[in-house]
Symmetry: C2
Subunit: 755 residues, 2 copies
């Protein structure tokens, strides 16, 4: 087939960059001193053998991070980052991940390397076999596997741009075989740029079999390879499959999985499936951990691999493919064993290939790789810029182990920096980030159906649940949320069920509302638009109002909505009850923005101090908002006889706002354990009356020590169908209530059964 | 107690008009000639003995309409009208309601008056007893019962404005007793104004016991009264209850229910409950059917009764209450038996009372009764303006029976005029009106929680369902509607389940979208904003587009939303499938506004002809919209070489619009029976994949004769979570599909079990 012609076909060009990606990345858990961890796999991570994101590899302390398949590199790296966050915070504050492919110092007795304590016996047996065949030391090598699939549309368009092969599946398999053979032949280029295992720590090699420093131990013959007798042809899928079977038959491999090629052909569960269904993607396995990237591989590396594969599809190969692949192995071993600061002996070829790749990219209108090519050229010209080169140079000042430990510490710190965030998805709502964290930890597959819309698909085996905004789920009915959306309807239903709600009326015209003045004038009351939720158009009269004020308030409210409510104002403290499936999971008190004096600092200084809390930030990106010192706060201070530079007395509390919203710097205080059960029962029963399962219901309570059954002991202000969760999870004071985990367990009760 | 002082108390005034109302109204079913109907109670009305709205009274052909309790007179009359609509249309087109209290000609043999065929034997037995005691003729008298309750807030404020009675319930009972005694004393005034049974038809009286014409046979001693021995005191609730028991004990009454006082004290299920729980409301029973009102009583009458009761509370009574009540009976009988055109002998007293009422209304700041008082004064001055006077005068030209028949016909016509509307609630959405119609017919209690918001509470025994906009219910989950609200998410889920949806991409920036030009340029495609639903910002390119047009379309779409979709355009016909609980209940084809030529009329004339259909109207108040001849239609005509005054050939169809929306004059054509099952299965399965129970799903089908399983046979365009129902119920062509009834049965499956 004329790949060169096919790739530049106009019908093909639009789809050239369509692809699907996946990353598997292994690393070793170590303690804060950089010694191999002695602990078991973290218990907070679901212990399923088939956890979709976090598994154990050969050893109990080898943590493997697996991304889902994505259609963009951006999303791929988002998941990679997020799963790392989950892994780190699940490991606890006493462990970190070793950033190198080469392990830190191993125990003298190799039996001390603990085999992964998996549930399925068969899996443990296989590891036992590997341990016997290759030794446990070699198994401690870690790396990145890069799964790559050409986009369906791309393969279709290529298929249509030729006429030689009539069968689509056959065509697709040929595409992957060509790319694979060329990758095997030219992979020395990857080893040159990104090889990153120059030397080993103590006890890795039994005898010092390898002298000196190299580019990549792992990619060389000293790495993790099959015996030389294992030979498989990539000339056709039939040959590949039959060769592999033969190797197993001969006993050279215990199973097809034991075949450690730098490229694995994928499709179906068994190698034999390949013959029937063809290749559906390939797995590049020769990538060392990039020590300088928190997640073991850089975005640019992935870009390179993608472009490299397109280039390899385009680039001619030799007819004798077995020879071609074998030559590749030899060249790769040469490059892998070169000194990291030495120019490679294939330098000219490397340069030519990069030139060729760049001009191909131009022909194909792929214009976004400028920095990539300049970095690649830099690395060719200056080997100290390659990963192996950089790591080696840094290790010269210090030991390689010391360098690795420092890097690990930095990564560790970053992952604990903002524990409420999920790196990779910080553009999403906080509650959704936390829910995704918990889902990933619980081994639930998380697919983002609409990122802007916070729309998730959660999947556990065959069980699918969709979630929007963290807690809009299948558990609530449509009508129950419509009930909560309508304040008048909510009140009517609660009232019909015997709950106390503020008395009031709804009006549709100013005249109507004015006529009702007498009904409210002498009592505390509130005027508010019926549907606006942001506090706009609300007037509170704590001691009644004269007609003129009433009229103003009515007019104001009608500016926000075509219907308004006038309601009695209830005195007391407002509590937010978070009710989930007929249980109160959290109760929160919100206190207006405030500072507490120490007799030394000014109000401004105290605000700055308080704002230093990592929980405080801006625009709902953090559980609490920074306290402002704007016009409203200054007015409030003035009213109390203070200025920003006043120095409050020790323990004096000064409020900076009237309203207690978290969004204007208020404090959130968990009081779940302090609220008496009878009030919790009111909340639960009221939520049930509305037919709701997930609800944030606001109660005004005058005095929690008075029984809820007393007349006017409480009043229900509002029921919210998408209640904020993060403020309960990261309160300013009091216990954290992990509501997102409750949601997960509510949606997937089977999780609790398997514990 | 000083009622005069209490009522003008400033704390009382705001609540004076707070009250709750209910109406029961009996009438006889007659055929179109005005003869008593020979049919059974209509089968389409749920046959429950305890139907909340439509029951049978004494006879099978006596239809009783019962409103729910309302807090405003407006709502009271809305329900009264609506239930009449349901009654009429359930009776079928061969029957009407007799508008007079007096029956039309009765059969000679009174046994031919059929007793109501109720399910509970006990009820039939009671009617048999009544038949024996009073004769069946008297039982054929019909009237209006007006149930009245002073508002809770009013009674509370009155209670607080005095100190004599300490017990609230006792106080409340005293209030009602005073109003009742005064009502019994002064009720001749009601008889004068609104008495409306001046003469009887043939066979009502056995002998001609009553000579001449009067104001109200029904309210007189010739009407439906207990024997003179039945005497009950209203001096206290204890006396009332014990007197009634005594009457039953003595055998003068078979049961307390047989006590036919013009005012019945209500509270609890049994009279004895009154003693324990007090009076909760009163029932005024002396109201003749108002022949000139389609619903038997006018709004003004109800206003009068309300004001009259406040006035009677205020007005002094004599100490000897039994005597006071007895005098009332005598006075009433005098007035009832006066000639309808004769001035009443209590004229001066009547005038004084009206003057007093009006000045009281002024003192109490009740300013809205001007027309009422002028009408009342007119009636006092000119007896021919009273109801009896008017009916008598009209009967002079014709017979009373003829007058009644003509009135009945008019009412009948009105109720069939717009069969898709529910009178009283025509401001609500059409689908909600039809759903309310069906619910009322099925004997489901309908409470409107929010009228503007189309929010209903439906109740059948203890089973409550809330419904918004006709089909937003508890049957759908919150998340499933959120899925449908998001086009991208809907498509992803359908695609993951193997359904064909238009291929496309979502973009968040203009640049992103422009970069994808090559992906779409050469194929039919659509550009649309992600969430707008009104067709704004949509561009269709049926044969691809050049870059300039593409760019324009992208810019246009981004003006409507921050995210846009570019999708392949599917060729074929769009069908709307209405899926309910995994079944296709209706399939609709929408055809753009069009006319069919006859070789004689101009296009303009043909449009006018077509618009005469009662189904066509404006602003979604009718099942179809009138066809416009505006700018767009004229352009479309011009493009086809026509003008408004062109005369199309016979049977030639001319389209006036590109789009097929019903809202722009399109035709709706039911094709439920024509669509093959395999396409229905696609619709059902797709809706199930979205987890939805009530859904309008739009399929593009190229050719319904090609099996749905064929590649690209169909494509799914959209799923709607609040699909229009009225267009299926009243299609332009094809069978009506009563989707609202399906919804009712889906929500209340117990209805089907009891059939």
């Amino acid at each position: 087939m004329d790949y060169k012609k096919m790739l530049v076909d106009e019908r093909v060009k639009p789809y050239l960059l369509k692809a699907r990606y996946g990353i598997e990345k292994e690393s070793k858990r170590v303690d804060l001193l950089g010694n191999l961890a002695k602990t078991d796999h973290p218990k907070s991570i679901s212990m399923r053998d088939d956890h979709p994101y976090i598994q154990r590899d050969f050893s109990e302390l080898q943590l493997e991070i697996i991304t889902p398949v994505t259609e963009t590199l951006e999303e791929l790296f988002d998941y990679l980052a997020a799963i790392h966050d989950v892994a780190y915070r699940s490991m606890g504050e006493n462990e970190m991940l070793w950033p190198l492919s080469m392990p830190p110092q191993l125990p003298e007795k190799e039996e001390e390397i603990v085999i992964a304590k998996l549930k399925r016996e068969e899996k443990v047996r296989y590891r036992q076999y590997l341990s016997n065949s290759y030794g446990r030391r070699k198994q401690m090598l870690c790396g990145v596997h890069f799964n790559f699939e050409f986009g369906d549309e791309l393969i279709h368009s290529l298929f249509n741009a030729q006429s030689e092969i009539k069968d689509y599946q056959h065509f697709k398999t040929e595409i992957y075989l060509k790319a694979t053979r060329n990758y095997l032949h030219y992979r020395w280029l990857v080893t040159y740029f990104y090889g990153a295992s120059p030397s080993s720590e103590k006890n890795f090699f039994k005898e010092d079999s390898l002298k000196g420093v190299v580019r990549s131990i792992r990619s060389s013959k000293y790495g993790y390879t099959n015996s030389d007798d294992v030979q498989v042809s990539y000339s056709s899928i039939q040959r590949y499959v039959s060769d592999l079977s033969l190797m197993v038959e001969k006993g050279l491999l215990s199973t097809e999985r034991e075949f450690y090629s730098p490229v694995r052909l994928r499709g179906g569960h068994h190698v034999s499936d390949l013959e029937n269904h063809g290749i559906s993607y390939i797995e590049l396995r020769n990538i060392d951990l990039n020590p300088f990237e928190a997640y073991g591989i850089s975005y640019e590396q992935a870009e390179f691999l993608h472009l490299f594969l397109i280039y390899l599809l385009w680039k001619d190969e030799e007819k004798d493919c077995d020879e071609w692949v074998k030559m590749g192995n030899i060249h790769n071993d040469i490059v892998a064993l070169e000194h990291p600061l030495e120019h490679t002996q294939f330098e000219i070829e490397a340069k030519n290939m990069i030139d060729e790749m760049e001009s191909l990219a131009a022909i194909l209108n792929l214009e976004t790789y400028k920095t990539l090519f300049s970095h690649l050229r830099e690395m060719i010209m200056d080997p100290s810029k390659t990963l192996a080169g950089r790591l080696y140079k840094e290790s010269e000042k210090n030991s390689q182990g010391q360098v690795a430990k420092l890097i690990a510490k930095e990564n560790y710190k970053k992952s604990w920096d903002k524990p409420y965030q999920l790196t990779g998805f910080t553009d999403m709502e906080l509650s959704t980030q936390i829910l995704m964290f918990d889902a990933i930890q619980q081994g639930i597959q998380v697919e983002i159906l609409d990122r802007q819309d916070q729309f998730l698909k959660l999947k556990l085996k065959d069980h699918v649940e969709y979630v929007k905004n963290g807690n809009m789920t299948s558990k609530d009915t449509y009508i129950s949320t419509l009930i909560m959306e309508n304040k008048t309807v909510t009140k009517k239903i609660l009232q019909q069920h015997g709950f106390r709600v503020p008395k009031g009326e709804e009006f549709h015209t100013i005249e109507q509302a004015l006529r009702a003045y007498d009904l409210f004038s002498t009592k505390p009351f509130v005027v508010k638009p019926k549907t606006t939720n942001y506090g706009l158009g609300i007037s509170i009269f704590k001691e009644g109002a004269n007609y003129e004020y009433y009229q103003k308030a009515i007019t104001l409210a009608f500016q926000e909505d075509s219907s308004i409510l006038v309601e009695e104002f209830l005195n007391g403290t407002e509590y937010r009850f978070f009710v989930l499936n007929d249980q109160v999971q959290a109760v929160l008190l919100r206190v207006p923005a405030n500072i507490k004096g120490d007799g030394k600092h000014t109000i401004e200084e105290l605000v700055m101090q308080k704002n230093r809390d990592i929980l405080r930030g801006k625009d709902h990106r953090t559980p609490l908002e920074t306290i402002q010192l704007g016009e409203l706060e200054n007015l409030m201070l003035k009213a109390q006889g203070y200025r920003m530079d006043s120095i409050p007395k020790n323990d004096e509390i000064i409020y900076l706002r009237e309203n207690s919203n978290i969004s204007t710097g208020g404090d959130s205080i968990d009081v779940t354990d302090q609220i008496p059960d009878d009030y919790k029962k009111v909340a639960v029963d009221a939520v049930a009356a509305l037919g709701v399962k997930i609800c944030g219901i606001d109660l005004i309570i005058e005095n929690t020590e008075i029984p809820a059954a007393n007349k006017n002991a409480y009043g229900i202000i509002e029921a919210n169908f998408n209640p904020s969760m993060y403020m309960h999870i990261y309160p300013y004071k009091g216990k954290s209530r992990r509501l997102t985990m409750h949601i997960i367990h509510y949606l997937f009760p089977e999780l609790l059964q398997s514990y």
